[in-house]
């Protein structure tokens, strides 16, 4: 069985092209609809009157009903608290696993990998208790704390560190670098692509995280965007479509804009993090 006819092949590919675009249109349609609805009055949005008058009232309404700016700030604080700590803690651990053969290191590594399966959101009940004992419920740090030690990050960095040639290390040691100096001057710079990859993946994960922040936050001062949006849009409150669309848009805008601007980096980071 073979289809050698070039004509048929070409037909196939133009059909394919149409299919590819149809799929793409279908895929972004929901977002486009939300975008469109956010700028129109609810009654037009429901009737889907495509060329109804534009309005910014929905956004004004959202801002006056809920402190979305504050929510955004909280989300920003969570990720900027969490990410640097993730990187530091994981770098140290990954370095230990990559370059030291310490007592119990194999078992320890397997125990680290356990966290790839059992992520903190599975253990909400018990972790909430722990956080309460620490007096860290309803704090920005509390939202990030269970995620600081990331098995995923340790794993990624360890792979990268292991691939760094021993000669570089020897050369640096000759120049008198200590353990941490070696890490800082040789390993970290060479692992930059991995850091970037993990950072973007972590950033988008925690920007969008919901269940754990929902449980540990009580007040406006800590509530991140996702939780704010969840409370704002809860059906009990009587859904007003356009206003909720506007709120949704406001919540996803920062990350989405960053993604659209740095699309290549994002996609490549996710790819890199995935292959490892």
């Amino acid at each position: 069985m073979s289809f050698k006819l070039p004509q048929k092949l070409r037909m196939g590919s133009s059909l394919e092209l149409v299919g590819a675009y149809l799929l793409a249109v279908f895929w972004i349609f929901p977002l486009l609809y939300a975008f469109w609805a956010a700028f129109h009055d609810t009654q037009y949005a429901i009737r889907f009157e495509l060329f109804a008058p534009l309005t910014l009232d929905n956004f004004r309404e959202v801002m006056s009903q809920a402190p979305f700016f504050r929510y955004g700030l909280n989300t920003f604080m969570v990720v900027s608290f969490l990410l640097p700590l993730q990187l530091v803690v994981s770098t140290l651990a990954a370095y230990a696993f990559a370059k030291y053969k310490f007592f119990g290191s194999n078992i320890a590594f397997v125990l680290v990998l356990v966290q790839l399966m059992i992520t903190p959101e599975i253990l909400i009940v018990q972790n909430y208790g722990t956080l309460a004992n620490l007096g860290m419920v309803d704090t920005i740090a509390g939202i990030g704390l269970p995620y600081i030690a990331s098995a995923f990050c340790i794993f990624l960095l360890r792979q990268t560190f292991k691939s760094i040639p021993k000669e570089l290390e020897d050369a640096a040691q000759l120049e008198g670098c200590g353990t941490l100096g070696l890490l800082w001057r040789v390993y970290v710079p060479l692992a930059m692509p991995t850091y970037l990859a993990f950072s973007l993946v972590s950033l988008s994960h925690h920007w969008n995280n919901f269940l754990w922040p929902l449980i540990v936050t009580n007040s406006v001062e800590t509530r991140p965007l996702t939780v704010g949006l969840g409370i704002f849009g809860a059906p009990e409150s009587g859904v007003d479509w356009s206003i909720i669309s506007a709120a949704t848009l406001l919540s996803v805008a920062p990350l989405l804009i960053a993604f659209l601007l740095f699309q290549k980096q994002f996609v490549q980071s996710f790819m890199q993090a995935g292959i490892k």
Binding site: T42, Q43, I46, S64, Q65, A66, Y128, L131, A132, G135, V137, D138, I215, N218, S219, V220, G230, I231, A234, P235, E236, S237, G238, V239, D240, W241
Partner: protein, 425 residues
């Protein structure tokens, strides 16, 4: 030199000012959680009331925290207590009372009020609104955002169907008849929608009472889910969809229902009076509000949120909390709140205020919830309320969808409730 001096002086001045203000203000700090369960800018209204209170009482600082729906608010308030975060009082579901007592989380108001005037204040509210707040001879909850279920109807649709817009259905039979006339064959307009997500047990409380039944006993330790009259009430609810075809089959979403009504997809909806002001502002047709129709009798459960004061509080905090609650439930505040939202005034005297008097004169539907109080009963409230309520909710939905018969669904729910509650009897 001069500049340094100036700076030093201004720093000193700033310091002393800030010290003075901090001494004058905020002797007692209160944190209060509150829920919102219907649409509209309710948070703004609450914040405004709290602000006014603080302006009048500069020695008390109140952090009012909006925490989502009733369930969320209870979860958040209890979580705060457990984790040592401050929380002195909260607005929570009126029906959370037994759970809060079991957790030893709240104090009865009888222990907080001291003067005769305050004791009299405890008795100043509508008695039917107090039903969910009193148990074992003590008052644990003070009504705040309280509601009943009312019937919103589209007068234009009534006219179009040849029905009298001024005499909405008053009995189940009339409801079915009107529904049949209002339901259009092409599916563009239904006669009636009763929401069955969100708070299905609440809607059902109305139907059960209209059939002369109650869902639970006063002690909160026994439910009557499988009484014949209650099964009959559920059969009626189900028949509205499957037999009479005046309501869509399956469940109807609590949250989007108001939109359905405003879009003319249904001519009648049953919903909380807490939606009244939003419907009034958004409806572009002539609408009316009526009491729920009668089966064997009229009936609706009351609903909504009460004020509770937590046990783990100092005497000063309790006194300040009482002050705040008294302010928020005072006739004038209650009247303003009612106008802003549609929730009812909680005391007879709130309906004596000029605010509500003139509002009702201009907009008579605002009085329906109050008039209906005469036929109102307590909302479903028991120990282990979450479980017991969920058992009923699941049963109602199962029956409405048709996956179980009303009898079967309610018997199962009763068995679940019995299992959960047996230790409390």
């Amino acid at each position: 030199m001069n500049i340094i001096k100036k700076i030093a002086i201004s720093i000193a001045a700033a310091l002393s000012i800030s010290m003075m203000t901090s001494m004058a203000a905020a002797e007692t700090e209160l944190t209060m959680y509150y829920p919102v369960a219907v649409g509209g800018p309710l948070t703004k209204t609450v914040d405004k009331m709290v602000e006014n209170f603080m302006a009048e009482n500069p020695d008390i600082k109140v952090n009012a925290i909006y925490a989502g729906n009733y369930n969320d608010a209870r979860i958040k308030a209890l979580a705060a207590l457990e984790s040592g975060q401050p929380a002195q009082l909260s607005v929570m579901f009126s029906i959370d009372i037994y759970e809060l007592i079991e957790l030893d989380a709240i104090v009865p108001f009888d222990d907080i009020v001291t003067t005769d005037e305050e004791k009299a204040w405890l008795k100043s509210f509508y008695p039917s609104l107090m039903e969910n707040g009193i148990t074992a001879g003590k008052t644990w909850g003070i009504p705040f955002q309280r509601s009943t279920i009312v019937m919103y109807y589209n007068k234009d649709a009534f006219r179009a169907a040849g029905l009298d817009p001024e005499s909405p259905p008053a009995t189940w039979e009339e409801l079915v008849d009107a529904g049949k006339k209002l339901t259009k064959d092409d599916g563009s307009q239904w006669g009636l929608m009763i929401p069955s997500t969100g708070y299905p047990y609440w809607m059902f409380g109305a139907l059960a009472m209209q059939n002369n039944e109650t869902l639970m006993n006063d002690a909160g330790d026994t439910t009557f889910y499988d009484n014949p009259g209650i099964v009959e009430a559920l059969s009626f609810w189900k028949d509205l969809g499957s037999k009479h075809k005046v309501m869509p089959e399956g469940t109807i979403e609590w949250g989007t229902l108001r939109q359905n009504f405003l879009e003319g997809q249904t001519a009648i909806m049953w919903h909380s009076t807490g939606n009244l002001t939003t419907v009034k502002n958004k409806a572009n047709f002539d609408f009316g509000v009526a009491m729920l129709p009668a089966g064997k009798r009229r009936g609706t459960p009351t609903g909504g949120g009460n004020f509770y004061v937590f046990k783990n509080t100092t005497d000063e905090e309790r006194a300040a909390s009482l002050k705040l609650i008294k302010y928020m439930t005072a006739p004038e505040s209650s009247a303003g709140w009612s106008v802003a939202t549609g929730y009812m005034g909680i005391s007879p005297s709130s309906y004596e205020t000029d605010t509500l008097k003139s509002y009702i004169e201009e907009f008579p539907p605002a009085a329906v919830a109050r008039d209906q109080l005469e036929f109102a009963t307590a909302e479903l409230s028991t120990y282990q309320a979450g479980r017991v309520r969920k058992a009923l909710d699941d049963a109602l939905q199962a029956a409405l969808i048709g996956s179980k018969s009303p009898q079967e669904a309610l018997s199962e729910a009763q068995a679940t409730a019995d299992r959960v509650l047996k230790d409390y009897r």
